[in-house]
Symmetry: C2
Subunit: 314 residues, 2 copies
């Protein structure tokens, strides 16, 4: 085993997963005191939005790995996630050196003390930016661009309720270093991720999907961004077939699919599985044909997962 440390975001990486890991790896390697030998890797290929970001700032996508040990690495740093089922396949066999995250903490444990920073802010990239300031390490333009993109992506341009009061200043400062206009760049970037027409139903339900254990049930919660919810709902029969196949293949008890309108900040919720009653209770709505409109909901983390967690626990 080498002394190299892998830095990576969660499976099915989104822009914040790629950006925060890229930025934190750069920072770790450039600390004036105690620089580490890290390599940023990813647990999957970039989605279209992330690819737009990487192309815009001229950064190559991190190489994809599925196991640390197979690569001769036994120490890792996680960004933008902590739950083991969202992490690298051999997470239980490696040493977790650090975590930088902005999610709930669950299904996570270590044998020894570690560096762990969790803050309830809009993106893991926001925390990484603050760590650059604390360490006094200069932030290159392209790293600033990635971190800004991670924040824009996770907060839908600072409109999601997950946006922290401090994120506005972070976005402004990062946009300046990256040399972009926040609003213009942000909208172009988000729209790059909403081109769903050329994707199969199987791909749609897998673009941004995470598995949660809710009171013993294995629940998959996926999300797509769009500018036209009805256009996506036209494909409901195909989507449900793909969801059913994924449930059978992976043993999910429920599959919750959020179709999020990034312009008007609403979502349509599709539920397939054995706990439709729990989903209805969580959101105080009635599913019709397995789906219902959830006004004002854009954040899986803040407006869906906690509500489902509570409902499943009742």
């Amino acid at each position: 085993m080498s002394d190299k440390i892998f830095v990576f975001g969660h499976q099915k990486p989104d822009t914040d997963a790629i950006a925060s890991s890229y930025g934190f790896s750069y920072l770790s390697n450039h600390r004036p005191n105690g620089a580490l030998n890290t390599e940023v890797v990813a647990l999957g290929t970039p989605n279209e939005e992330t690819q737009f970001v990487l192309d815009y700032f001229g950064v190559e996508a991190p190489r994809v790995v599925t196991s640390a040990k197979e690569e001769g690495v036994d120490t890792v740093i996680l960004t933008d996630h902590n739950e083991f089922q969202q992490s690298i396949s051999d997470i239980e066999d490696v040493t977790i050196f650090g975590v930088v995250d902005h999610h709930r903490v669950a299904n996570f444990n270590t044998a020894a003390p570690l560096f762990m920073t969790v803050e309830p802010v809009g993106s893991a990239s926001s925390i990484v930016y603050r760590k650059f300031l604390e360490a006094g390490v200069e932030l290159p333009k392209e790293v600033a661009g990635l971190l800004l993109s991670g924040l824009i992506s996770d907060t839908l341009l600072l409109k999601s309720p997950t946006t922290h009061v401090t994120d506005h200043k972070v976005a402004k400062e990062l946009a300046e270093i990256a040399g972009v206009n926040l609003e213009e760049y942000g909208l172009a970037m988000l729209k790059a991720g909403t081109n769903l027409a050329n994707k199969s139903a199987e791909e749609l339900i897998d673009i941004d999907a995470k598995t949660f254990e809710l009171n013993g049930s294995k629940v998959r919660i996926a999300q797509v961004n769009t500018v036209d919810i009805p256009e996506v709902l036209e494909r409901l029969v195909d989507l449900k077939a793909a969801i059913n196949a994924a449930m059978q293949a992976n043993g999910y008890d429920d599959f919750v699919f959020m179709i999020t309108d990034i312009v008007n900040s609403n979502s349509e919720i599709v539920e397939v599985g054995s706990h439709a009653d729990k989903v209805e209770a969580a959101f105080h709505f009635k599913l019709e044909d397995g789906h219902a409109f959830l006004e004002g909901a854009v954040s899986r983390k803040k407006q869906v997962v906690p509500q489902l967690t509570e409902s499943f626990n009742n």
Copy 2:
């Protein structure tokens, strides 16, 4: 429920548990931006070492609570621990606003994002001190004295392998603010905690004891500091009787009792329970009459828990 937030360290509080919670509560209430309404409380009364510290710096012991909800509080901040079985009785029913800790992370989960800072440093007090610097909040003399004492206690005056390279500077700066001589004060303080003669066997095994779940087994690991290991071993029959009673009453599978010589930095390990083989394998020694000498071991966290965790997993 009020908007008050409880700040507390672990059950069976030691000096770092009391000091870090006291300091972090003070800091939280005095932040120039976003001050909180917190109250420091404790999950038990101070031990003799901690009482020495509180008397020395003229600080009253935090009041003891056993439930947050019963006190009308539903939001908490944990210092110096994160594992639920070491926390307040209704930890699963309250909102965890934040965590400041220097232990492994295990048996911990939240429904929502939070503030969590874990660092592999010598004491939770070290982290709290750094947070004072970051926030730019002036550190009163008595708070500095408590934080210094938390660090001295957990690192046995910076001699334990849990001492982090940054802790020496922290200790020096805190001693200056507190107005004490580090070595003289530190030794006096540690010695105040080694007066075991007037304690019953039941009290000895409970002074600083934590419960761990190791591969499904419930393992109690207790520690006492002394300047004379043989003096403590003279009471072995009584100690084992007390241990057996505690195991029956609480369903522990094993009870590991560390008798630590704070001057020479060694420990005698007493094991009672069904996994003596695992304990022997963990420390590469042979128990005789249920106990064995472990050279150089002073840290439960670094020299006992990880070794037992690995051994129990094999």
